[in-house]
């Protein structure tokens, strides 16, 4: 008998702008294979998982056929990590005895607001400033990229400046702390 466990429900409607969207616990993620998939690390930032980042949108496990359907969403249109993530999902599913079918979904578009609190904390610990809340761009004045307040993940000082809009990957910018002198990556808020 085939038991199709419910997928996560986050993709039913486009989330409202600025609303933090936590991937709700689903029974699919309580299965061994679901958990193994959710724990796939980001290839560029291995301290965070695809669940932490909000890249994992849906997991459907078919116990009878040993199939698992996975929906992921890219952080950026051309993110080269997507292929590595897809291969890794297929690999961990195979290890648990399942065949994974991975599809990429563009809409609703990924936003840093989907990143879990745990993911943010892990990023900061790893030395990457977590993204600010996109919705917090308050006030009537257009806030330029170079005047955002970003705390240094090493010393905590907010005396930091942007070195470059773009960092080592599409999702990061490069900053420098003027208090402790350390350069660091910032996960861009989009």
């Amino acid at each position: 008998m085939s038991t199709v466990l419910p997928a996560t429900t986050t993709d039913l409607a486009a989330p409202e702008a600025g609303v933090t969207l936590d991937l709700p616990a689903s029974r699919a993620l309580d299965t061994l294979v679901g958990r193994a998939i959710a724990d796939v690390p980001d290839p560029e930032v291995p301290v965070v998982t695809i669940e932490d980042l909000g890249i994992l949108r849906e997991v459907t496990v078919d116990e009878a056929e040993h199939l698992v359907q996975v929906v992921i969403t890219p952080t950026y249109s051309g993110c080269p990590a997507m292929d590595a993530i897809r291969v890794r999902i297929e690999h961990v599913a195979a290890r648990e005895g399942y065949t994974a079918s991975v599809t990429t979904r563009l809409a609703p578009a990924w936003t840093t607001d989907w990143m879990s609190e745990e993911g943010r904390a892990k990023l900061a610990e790893f030395g990457i400033a977590p993204p600010g809340q996109r919705a917090a761009a308050a006030g009537p004045v257009g806030v330029g990229l170079s005047v955002r307040q970003v705390a240094c993940p090493r010393c905590g000082s907010s005396a930091t400046e942007e070195v470059s809009h773009f960092g080592s990957t599409a999702c990061k910018a490069l900053r420098r702390c003027t208090a402790c002198g350390e350069p660091f990556d910032e996960f861009k808020a989009i």
Binding site: P74, Y76, S77, G78, C79, P80, R105, L106, A107, P108, A109, W110, L145, S146, V163, S164, H165, F166, G167, S168, T169, A170, L174, K188, I190
Partner: protein, 260 residues
């Protein structure tokens, strides 16, 4: 191949539209990639590479969509690597040779100002894939536009030399700007079908944006050039296009059927 749209099914029309948007993104991604290791700073190698990567991501989805809708079953790779010059529908702006950094920032400013308006409109597209690309790209393109803006301001309002060269770059890019905003038959038909946007309707906002940046940068927009580019949407290209395709396609054509 003719560009009139009479007799096209809805799917074929959407395929044509996705193809030309995808070609703009693909060809500009190829040009931007050429900057890696040649930019004035290593941060710019990464920046231009990353912008190119975003555009390549748009192109991959749009070309795959075009190939699946037009009835030929061509993949993104078939369309990128095995079409000849006349089959490409991109505007001339994106195929022009890499020049100095000022030229690239002038080109990026215009192209991202155009794309920002384009994708803002396509967020309402009746086609799910076009809409999906737009929802994702609209935020990325905003970032590209900001990057070009920061550089145009810095170079225009910088030293006498950087000012002069940025002004010269705006003049050199100017003949290729109008083509972006020409109402071609495919875009017009796609707009009428609720799938696309009329390029002309994007002009006012894009022009206002670029004008504001240019004047803040203490530069002036050049006068309407006497010659301007045309024909990209009909597959008529300029001299640099053949060289670009030769470089982009030769590996795939030397090893047909190879995958990675």
């Amino acid at each position: 191949m003719s560009t009139h749209t009479a007799g096209l099914t809805a799917s074929q029309l959407t395929a044509r539209y996705a193809l030309q948007l995808g070609d703009d993104a693909l060809v500009y991604a190829q040009r931007l990639g050429e900057w890696i290791s040649r930019a004035p700073q290593i941060e710019e190698d990464m920046a231009l590479g990353n912008i190119g990567l975003d555009l390549l991501g748009q192109a991959r989805v749009l070309l795959s969509h075009a190939g699946s809708l037009d009835g030929t079953g061509r993949t993104e790779d078939d369309l990128a690597y095995f079409r000849d010059e006349r089959g490409f529908r991109n505007v001339h702006l994106v195929e022009q040779e890499r020049s100095d950094f000022g030229f690239e920032m002038a080109r990026l400013l215009w192209f991202s100002a155009y794309q920002a308006e384009l994708y803002a409109a396509l967020v309402a597209s009746a086609d799910e894939v076009v809409q999906g690309v737009a929802l994702k790209a609209v935020k990325e393109v905003d970032y590209h536009r900001d990057h070009a803006t920061q550089w145009v301001l810095r170079l225009g309002d910088g030293t006498a030399e950087s000012h002069e060269r940025m002004q010269d770059a705006l003049t050199r890019v100017a003949p290729y700007v109008a083509e972006l905003f020409d109402d071609d038959p495919v875009s017009v038909a796609a707009a009428e079908a609720g799938v696309g946007a009329r390029p002309k309707s994007l002009w006012d906002n894009a022009f206002a944006y670029v004008s504001r940046v240019v004047s803040q940068a203490t530069l002036v927009l050049p006068e309407q050039p006497t010659w301007r580019s045309r024909g990209g949407r009909d597959g008529i290209h300029s001299r640099p296009m053949g060289y670009l395709l030769a470089e982009m396609q030769h590996i795939a054509r030397s090893h047909p059927g190879a995958t990675w």
